[in-house]
Amino acid sequence: MLESEYQEHNRFFLNMGPQHPSTHGVLLIVLEMEGEYVLDPQPVLGFIHRMHEKMGESRPCQNFMPNTARMDYVCALPYNHGYVSLIERKAEIEVPKRAEYIRVITSELNRIASHLLWLGAYLLDLGAFTPILYGFDDREHILDILESITGSRLTYCYYRFGGVYQDIDDTFIAATRAFVKRLRKRYSIYEKLVTKNIIFIKRTENVGIVSPDMALRYGMTGPNLRGSGIAYDVRKNEPYSVYPEFDFEIPVGEQGDCLDRYMVRVKEIEQSLRIIEQALDRLPDGPIRAKVPKNIKLTPGDCNFAVEAARGELSYYLVGDGTSTPYRLKVRVPSYSNLSCLPELGRGILLPDLVSILGSFDLVIPEIDR
């Protein structure tokens, strides 16, 4: 009797967020704690709900482009890519080859930038301040390269229906090749500083193990799923754009703990570099934008398009009604399904382990809240 009373007194509720020093965004997790153990984490969303789907239904499809970049701002170009490819599939627009290659190169550069930011932010959550400085330094190189053709540093709206907005030139190609060479030399720094660090390994090994069945029930995709051993990547499984022409691998983990998810993302950076090199070698000449009518009429019916964003499978679902305004636009974001497994995964773990799991999921909250 006395012991259960003692246990009752040790229980309390703790609010983690919505303003907390991790950089995931405004997420509130209500934790029912007993001492240092988390009994039941319940995420509360909606602090950055910016009504993107409502805006998608209220304006012509061309005007939705800035919204796509603001959903996931860290890795905005795959979001652009998904949306323009969706409209191109619906309106049956053929994209010139050079534009497809430029799209792939810029998307992969953005994916590397996103993974570098994630690496820095994850280590910052775990308490290490140095890797984020190195990660941001490498990322600034990418931002300079992309700024020279798109004009923005973060929220890009570079793709248009039928191609891209501006052509790339020799300085872009020279700068990208120089960057690829530079980043390959920097791997040893990250390895020595992070991957072989005993503190990091102790905090991430055997923590937050996601089983393949759990991933299926929650619909998880992306590096979180690949860490559990399932080799599912939309670029290989459901190829779009010119990805079938490139030779790259899908890194897979074994156990599904935080260390596996980390290793999958680090290896993905190398695979993205391979894709960029191959694309630069084979870049064809030609027009960068197809002739597209000013007002695209979306035929009645629904259409779906899936791309691989840095966080997983991103799906756009459009219902057209004959005008140029979509009747319904649904965006299925990867972090939504990835985060929804937290109540089941985080039962009975230590609070620092919860921080480690959240960081390894690579969440961007504005895309969850759309």
């Binding site: 965004g25 602090f47 973060l154 020279a174």
Partner: protein, 210 residues
């Protein structure tokens, strides 16, 4: 179904909500004077000047990064743009230990009470920078069908400096901090600062960087 579509009755009136939040909680702080809260009992000009110089050169921001502008705020704190040469050495997550609140992102109806609570928890003197178009006026989300976004952080809390952009460049945020320093002391660059370094990509011929 017709009854449920009476949108004018159920669409939340966001300006009224913001005014309601502002009236209940913020009134004491605004009435008694912006910068010094209740005001000191004794004021001496030399002491004031020295205090303001010290405050301006040591503005510690609170991390209230909400959305996209938060990444540019982080980028400003990193090695390339380095906000700590202007005095903001550390970004404090706790409002009790900071004196500059950088509202970086869109303020939501659900987030408005959180913003007010954090503002009230900050001790005076305190300053606010509204970073990005969303914090200034709602930005790209100030649309006809808006049902959720408070159009501007200044509907809730008094703002000192507005930094436009979507998102603004890190240089913009640094300019904003310099403007706050100018507002406090009356002089720009109270203590001479370092120059901005050249970009590492300058070596690539023809690439347009500073």
């Amino acid at each position: 179904m017709g009854e449920e579509n009476k949108r004018s009755q159920i669409t939340p009136d966001l300006d009224a909500y913001a005014a309601h939040l502002k009236s209940e909680s913020c009134q004491p702080v605004i009435e008694q004077g912006r910068e010094y809260g209740e005001g000191p009992l004794l004021r001496m000009k030399l002491a004031d000047t020295i205090m303001k110089l010290c405050q301006a050169n040591s503005l510690w921001p609170m991390t209230f990064g909400i959305a996209c502008c938060a990444i540019e705020m982080m980028g400003t704190g990193m090695a390339r743009f380095d906000i700590s040469r202007y005095g903001s050495e550390v970004f404090r997550p706790s409002p009790r230990q900071s004196d500059l609140m950088i509202v970086a992102g869109t303020v939501n109806k659900k987030l408005a009470p959180v913003l007010l609570t954090l503002y009230e928890q900050m001790p005076s003197p305190k300053w606010v920078i509204a970073l990005g178009n969303c914090a200034i006026s709602g930005g790209p989300f100030k649309v006809k069908e808006n049902y959720n976004i408070i159009e501007g952080a200044d509907k809730l809390i008094p703002v000192d400096v507005y930094v436009p952009g979507c998102p603004p460049r890190p240089e913009g945020l640094i300019e904003g901090i310099l403007k706050v320093q100018e507002k406090i002391t009356g002089i720009r660059h109270p203590i001479p600062q370092n120059r901005h370094p050249k970009s590492p990509l300058k070596k690539v011929k023809g690439l347009r960087v500073k």
